[in-house]
Amino acid sequence: MIAVDLTVNGRQHTLEVASDVFLLEALRDQLGLTGAKECCLEGECGACTVIVDGRSMNSCLILAAEVEGTAIVTVEGLADDGISNLQRSFLDNAAAQCGFCIPGQLMAAAALLQHNPSPTRAEIRQALAGNLCRCAGYEQIATSVYEAAASMAGADEETMR
């Protein structure tokens, strides 16, 4: 067992893990953060997507031990209070059906918007290409991200005036 110090959703944690435990398992089983989901467990479906030091990653492919000292954000950490603009846009645009892929979609989208606040729809599709959805046609998810970006850009303009 090894000790891994990291920050998750702004809080400091020390995980006690075997060296071969993946981050996804540590988040779900040790920290009770079950928002990130298990599906393919081989980095293809994106249901386990979290943000590590600002980059979206498949937590099923990262060892907990590898992320010592990093700052992780999961879907539970997208908003300190209530829900974020991005999450609200997903609700307004009916993007969530069964909802199982949605945490992963949200994290991939959040990471995109951190680096590219005004993505085109093509850029959104590309950034979320690693997040499989079987319920929806991907359209409403893309629209949610696009409109969230637009509303946040609008909000920034308001603040700047």
Partner: protein, 752 residues
């Protein structure tokens, strides 16, 4: 059931999904997220081939491994090993003496942690002899030399017991053999093995509870599971509690019990909660769609009138029947489609195979039939030189027409759906060079029997609690029931709590399938609300010393002779000093008809028209979907955003089996491409450039406010529409799905 043509202000609105906030914050609890203290973890032991004779199972080393509590084998179960299944009780809880498909569980390791269970699986030694010559294809299944998949002893009175034909279904009217046609088109079409691939893999848990048991499952039919567990364990229903968290996608693959009985036996043996969560690859071994080879021979007059249709339809269903024979029987009944056809012969066979047991999957056999029939119609259109849209319109049954003798008549103005699809694809506009267009129609029937109960409680402040046994697996059932209750009882959707997924709390519901829930459970919810309205009327009349006939309660309002008020206000008055609540119950029962080949007439139909425009790169075979249109005859769109979401999602799923999905087996029946890397479903990058979905709303459905069921329509006709567009673009005709670039490229080369 009647459609009163009534409405409330919430019909046609799209309030936020009930349960949406939980889904976007990660707090929605799926079965794998439920934490049970002291739970044991289970991993299945399976073999690396389809067919093997089990000689012995050595569990000693595994049982000694750290953290392992037990290893269950068939010997640990009651003898003979219990079997279950919705149609036939053929599926054993663990393999008995022989495995019949790749992935059939032979044993189960039970340990304190998942990691300990996984490690110990390697320590279980199953001495086995691989049996060569399994039944993996249709040819194998029909070969009299092939081994029998199922022991004849399981089917004592069955004339087919000594074959791999499980059942034959025949539907005949008119005189196909004497019908004269100017043109006969005769082709055979293939639909591959594909799998549901819900993003949430199946999950099952069980925990012993006083004199009974609690079972958790991502199941679509909680009451069927309750019945199965009660029977197998010999418990009264009241002592079996099924908790069914909203599934992360079902698509039919989570309808019927799979490994819950095994998990229940383990829980009882260990007297502890036990948990089995499948890996994605394991779901490929657990559920799939029926695959099919369908020969269609159709006769047409020179003007395009269909004279006869003759089907020989063979469905390979797998090692255990599950609900697959129902798929074969029900879908083939509609093989001839929504058309007026005077002479029809349909011979459909369900064939056993040493493969994953198939089960229900969205469309329930109709995508397979539509693929064959619509492609065949297109062939005729090409040979006759008739526009494929016009040919279909010529033969399309009109609303009220009994297009299958003795069956529910066409229940929609179906021509409107085709015309709308044609308009949206620009059917009559010029086609840019290098592009092709195709159009196709799919018809599916809703349920043929049904039983749904709903209970609604109108609380003293006008807010509402609603109980329903439907499973909300993404189609938005919670939301539409909340909309119905909110509209009838005059409250906000946000003030309606919808309780589902607990058999000890919600009243009986037969199942969630066949696009039934908005109509059957919807009507039960509506009736429960009307029950409350009637009770409120009586209380208000008594309070104001009026005759009941002077009080009207509807659409959230109470109307007195000289005064009106909202129900939310009236309820406080009606309940008086003691307060309390008003409870309403609703029941919707469709008895069916035991003499009908399907057990009853269709409650409604789902009719879809799909059209698409493609560009084909003949150098690489790649298809570019420039525009895709799907239109459904929905009665009313109770929640339009949810209808759009389901229609677009179904279309994308249809594009999956059309363009890229196929389970591949080797000579040992081993599935070669389990998992997300080697089995491709569409990603966000694969969607059509333009996706247009629309609904035809004539309020002519049997559900509340004239709604019909939806959610399956949009993948019924995807494949033939795309194939037709491909032929139109580059002349290549494909009859075997999926239409991969390789197949187009090869066909193009063969043409030269």
């Amino acid at each position: 059931m009647t459609s009163t043509g009534e409405t409330t202000e919430l019909v046609g609105r799209s309030p936020h999904r009930v349960g949406g906030v939980d889904r976007v914050t990660g707090s929605q609890e799926y079965v794998a997220d439920v934490r049970l203290p002291d739970a044991l973890h289970i991993q299945l032991v399976t073999l690396d081939c389809a067919r093997a004779r089990i000689i012995s199972i050595d569990t000693a080393r595994a049982e000694e491994a750290p953290g392992v509590v037990m290893v269950m084998t068939a010997d640990d179960l009651p003898q003979p090993v219990p079997r279950h299944g919705p149609q036939f009780q053929d599926r054993p809880v663990l393999a008995v003496g022989e495995t019949k498909y790749h992935g059939e569980p032979v044993a189960a390791v039970v340990a304190e942690t998942r990691r300990a269970a996984r490690a110990a699986v390697e320590l279980v030694t199953v001495e086995h002899e691989e049996l060569r010559g399994g039944v993996f294809t249709l040819a194998d299944a029909l070969d009299p030399e092939s081994p029998l998949v199922q022991s004849p002893q399981l089917r004592p009175d069955d004339p087919f017991a000594e074959t791999n034909i499980l059942a034959e279904h025949k539907y005949v009217w008119g005189e196909v053999d004497h019908a004269e046609a100017d043109l006969v088109v005769d082709n055979t079409y293939q639909f591959p093995m594909i799998t549901q691939f819900a993003i949430e893999p199946h999950g099952f848990m069980a925990a012993p509870q006083d004199d009974g048991i609690t079972v958790w499952s991502s199941v679509q039919h909680p009451f069927l599971l309750q019945k199965t567990i009660a029977r197998i364990l010999g418990l009264p229903l009241a002592r079996v509690r099924v908790l069914a968290p909203d599934p992360g996608g079902g698509f039919g693959g989570k309808q019927n019990p799979k490994y819950e009985p095994l998990v229940a036996f383990i829980a009882l043996a260990t007297r502890r909660p036990a948990r089995l969560i499948l890996g994605l690859g394991e779901t490929f071994q657990t559920v799939r769609r029926t695959s099919a080879t369908i020969r269609v021979r159709s006769g047409f007059d020179g003007d395009g009138t269909i004279v006869f249709q003759d089907f020989l339809s063979d469905f390979l269903i797998g090692a255990y029947v599950d609900i697959a024979d129902r798929v074969v029987g029900k879908s083939n009944y509609l093989a001839a489609g929504p058309y007026r056809v005077p002479n029809v012969r349909i011979v459909a066979r369900a064939l056993l195979s040493h493969t994953t047991p198939s089960t229900a999957m969205r469309g329930f056999g109709i995508p397979q039939l539509s693929w064959a029939r619509e492609s065949n119609i297109d062939e005729a259109a090409r040979q006759l030189g008739i526009d494929p849209l016009k040919l279909r319109l010529r033969n399309l049954a009109a609303r009220g027409e009994e297009f299958i003798p003795g069956e529910t008549a066409a229940d929609g103005k179906w021509a409107e759906t085709l015309e709308k699809a044609a308009e949206l694809i620009g059917w009559d506009t010029d086609l840019p060079a290098g592009r092709g267009r195709g159009i196709a129609v799919g018809l599916k029937s809703g349920p043929t029997t049904g039983l749904s109960y709903a209970t609604v409680r109108l609380l003293s402040d006008g807010s509402v609690v609603l109980y329903s046994g439907t499973s909300d697996m993404g189609q938005g059932a919670r939301t539409i029931f909340a909309q119905i209750a909110a509209g009838e009882l005059g409250t906000l959707v946000g003030s309606v709590r919808v309780v589902m997924g607990d058999t000890s709390l919600v009243p009986y519901d037969q199942q969630t399938s066949a696009s039934r829930s908005s109509v059957l459970m919807g009507n039960a919810v509506l009736r429960a609300c009307r029950d409350i309205q009637a009770k409120l009327r009586a209380l208000i009349a008594a309070h104001y010393d009026l005759d009941e006939s002077e009080v009207v309660v509807e659409e959230g309002m109470v109307m007195l002779p000289d005064y009106e008020m909202k129900i939310t206000r009236a309820v406080g008055i009606a309940l008086g000093r003691l307060g309390g609540e008003i409870i309403g119950n609703g029941e919707l029962r469709v008895e069916g008809d035991p003499d009908h080949p399907l057990g009853g007439k269709a409650v409604f139909y789902e009719l879809n028209c799909t059209a698409c425009e493609v560009e084909v790169d003949t150098e690489t075979g790649e298809i570019d979907l420039t525009r895709y249109v799907t239109v459904g005859d929905v009665g009313r769109a109770l929640n339009p955003n949810q209808v759009t979401g389901q229609d677009e999602g179904a279309a994308i799923m249809g594009l999956g089996h059309t363009l890229m999905e196929r389970m591949m087996l080797d000579e040992s029946g081993r599935i070669l491409n389990m998992g997300a890397v080697d089995y491709r479903i569409l990603t966000a990058m694969d969607v059509p450039h333009q996706m247009i979905s629309a609904s035809v709303e004539n309020a002519d459905g049997p559900g509340p406010y004239g709604i019909k069921g939806i959610s399956e329509g949009s993948l019924l006709a995807t494949a033939p529409a795309v194939a037709s567009a491909v032929t139109s673009a580059c002349g290549v005709v494909i009859r075997d799905l999926p239409i991969t670039p390789e197949r187009i490229w090869r066909a193009k080369r063969e043409q030269r």
